[in-house]
């Protein structure tokens, strides 16, 4: 891939904008590449327009390339792709955060399952265990605020405590739930508090969609 005329440019410069192979090479130079003989040529690729979804500083750097035999891409195509780029980056971040939230909720569910199994083996009566049971009453209040989309300052005002105290509570909540983020903790809260109100994942997905979409 080092021979690819566009991708190394992104890695080297950190730019993200739409670029064409024609920005870097003439048609003759492009066709002289080994990459053209082995890859582009057999696939009928004469023109390529590329944009970076996420640059080298992102957790998952990636790019999208569009290929054509004819006609060449135009500056109008380039401008459109440049306008799309920030949305691609934001949507990718949302997808990564959503996956983190799902895996956090899954871990919390596994913890709950193990605790419930332990209680059943010990022959104890009681309510079904959930990850939320690990929290104090005050931490559950804070988590409810997080799940409703409030900032630390807003939660602090509603509970009449300091924002620093809320931040400490949030740290404890994430640690106790094994959640990697506030969003993941919010998923835990929603799944634990809405077990009998229809398909829970419908509510979870709707809530996350609202929270993540700019």
């Amino acid at each position: 891939m080092r021979e690819h005329p566009v991708l190394p440019h992104y890695v080297r410069t950190g730019e993200t904008g739409a670029r064409m192979i024609a920005d870097f090479l003439s048609t003759t130079e492009f066709r002289r590449l080994g990459l053209y003989g082995e890859f582009f040529g057999p696939l009928g690729v004469e023109h390529q327009l590329t944009v970076l979804v996420a640059d080298r500083s992102a957790s998952q750097p990636a790019g999208i390339s569009l290929d054509r035999e004819q006609p060449p891409f135009t500056d109008k195509d380039r401008r459109l792709l440049d306008r799309l780029q920030p949305h691609l980056a934001a949507a990718q971040r949302n997808a990564i955060r959503f996956s983190e939230a799902l895996s956090g909720a899954q871990r919390a569910a596994e913890i709950s399952g193990k605790r419930l199994a332990g209680r059943q083996l010990a022959g104890r009566a009681g309510t079904p265990a959930t990850a939320i049971d690990r929290l104090t009453a005050r931490e559950r209040d804070v988590l409810a605020g997080v799940a409703s989309g409030q900032t630390n300052a807003q939660i602090a005002r509603s509970l009449d405590i300091s924002a620093g105290t809320v931040r400490k509570h949030v740290e404890h909540i994430l640690a106790r739930l094994g959640a990697p983020s506030r969003t993941a903790a919010a998923v835990c809260h929603i799944t634990a508090t809405m077990p009998h109100q229809g398909p829970p994942w419908t509510a979870v997905l709707a809530s996350l969609n609202d929270a993540l979409t700019p």
């Binding site: 891939m1 999208i64 691609l88």
Partner: protein, 62 residues
């Protein structure tokens, strides 16, 4: 051009519809190709540390 005529705005709901990370390449490629016609498309993930690339040609749903 009025707001309703902007092709970019028309595809944004699909782009921002919630999807896990593993489904993002398919979603992103679908949206991009709706905006700009092409014979095919590639989604390339790369590791700046090692220089390694992974190219998904016309990615399919996972």
């Amino acid at each position: 051009m009025g707001r309703g005529d902007d092709p970019l705005e028309a595809v944004l709901p699909e782009l921002y519809a919630l999807t896990p990370a593993e489904g993002f390449p398919v979603r992103a490629m679908s949206v991009t190709r709706k905006l700009i016609g092409a014979d095919k498309g590639d989604y390339t993930e790369f590791d700046p540390g090692t220089g390694a690339f992974r190219v998904l040609v016309d990615p399919e749903p996972p």
